[in-house]
Amino acid sequence: MPHVRADLRDAHAASLRHVASPGARLDAARRVQIAEVAIAAYLDPEPAPPWVRPYGDLALDVAHRLARHAGTITLEWYEQVITEGLHPLEWVEVVGVVVAAVPPVAFARAIGVPVPGLPAPVPGPPTGHEAAELAPATLNWVPVAAPADQTASVVQALSSLPDENANLWRLAAAQYMANEQMGDPRWTRGLLSRPQMELVAGRLSLIRECFF
């Protein structure tokens, strides 16, 4: 079994606990259901194509498409799903759950160990913990914490839901680097130089058809 550094192991375990805890608008059981769909889609050797909605359930279908066909998601589809009844902050929470659940699974698969299971859902109602003030953004489709567009789009992407945002950046700090290190070309992730890190990031992002 490969030895995984403690900060990374802890960040992945914390992220899965976060998935199984009550969120701003969804209870933990629903969040675990969304995560299970995302993990299944990510690992499926023959996934349903992007235009299929396998579950007939807005949140689960968003989780499925985001987990396996993220590069195909368009503004038009986002607006269609919102029009059909998913609240924009529920969409953001689904994104937060998917991006909390997929990285530990992706990492385990990459290093060749069994993928981790999800913890049992923590009982209790949604927390209602949302940004004090929301604003429409020009750099994202989703609403963000006010004031909008003062930071990069990926930095403000989940800011409407502080707990999802915090988990995202805890993971980023352990897997890649903290935001404050982004401007340092000499920063290394363990044995990888910054250009080696960016080579991995760039190739994977291109295959995922993500311009970022």
Binding site: Q175, Q196, F212
Partner: protein, 112 residues
């Protein structure tokens, strides 16, 4: 970021490798890192096992684990960007468009 970081370090990398998947970009273990990232992204379990073993053989297990962590991070960040409709600021449009056309990715949904 590859172009910027490698230029800052005085050893410009060949960013075309990001698009072609062919070559080492001028970086130590570059070809093995590209193969590892590609195998993770392509959902090819046999290719992933080969690429992982090769990376461990040439660079060691800790190096492979750190590369896997970076890959996991971009399995996350690509979904954050695509799932929230993230766009680059207009001020960087010219630079982004140039890179997009050079790498053949200007047609990606997230490039608009």
């Amino acid at each position: 970021m590859l172009s910027w970081s490698s230029n800052e370090l005085g050893t410009p990398a060949d960013i075309a490798v990001i698009a072609s998947g062919d070559g080492d970009a001028g970086l130590p273990h570059g070809a093995d890192l590209v193969a590892f990232a590609e195998a993770i992204a392509r959902f090819d379990e046999e290719a992933l096992a080969r690429a992982r073993a090769q990376l461990v053989a040439v660079a060691g297990e800790d190096f492979m684990i750190d590369a896997a962590a970076v890959a996991a991070n971009f399995e996350m960040m690509t979904r954050v960007a695509d799932g929230t409709g993230a766009r680059h600021a207009p001020a960087t449009a010219d630079q982004r468009n140039a890179i997009g056309h050079r790498l053949g990715i200007a047609g990606f949904t997230s490039a608009h």
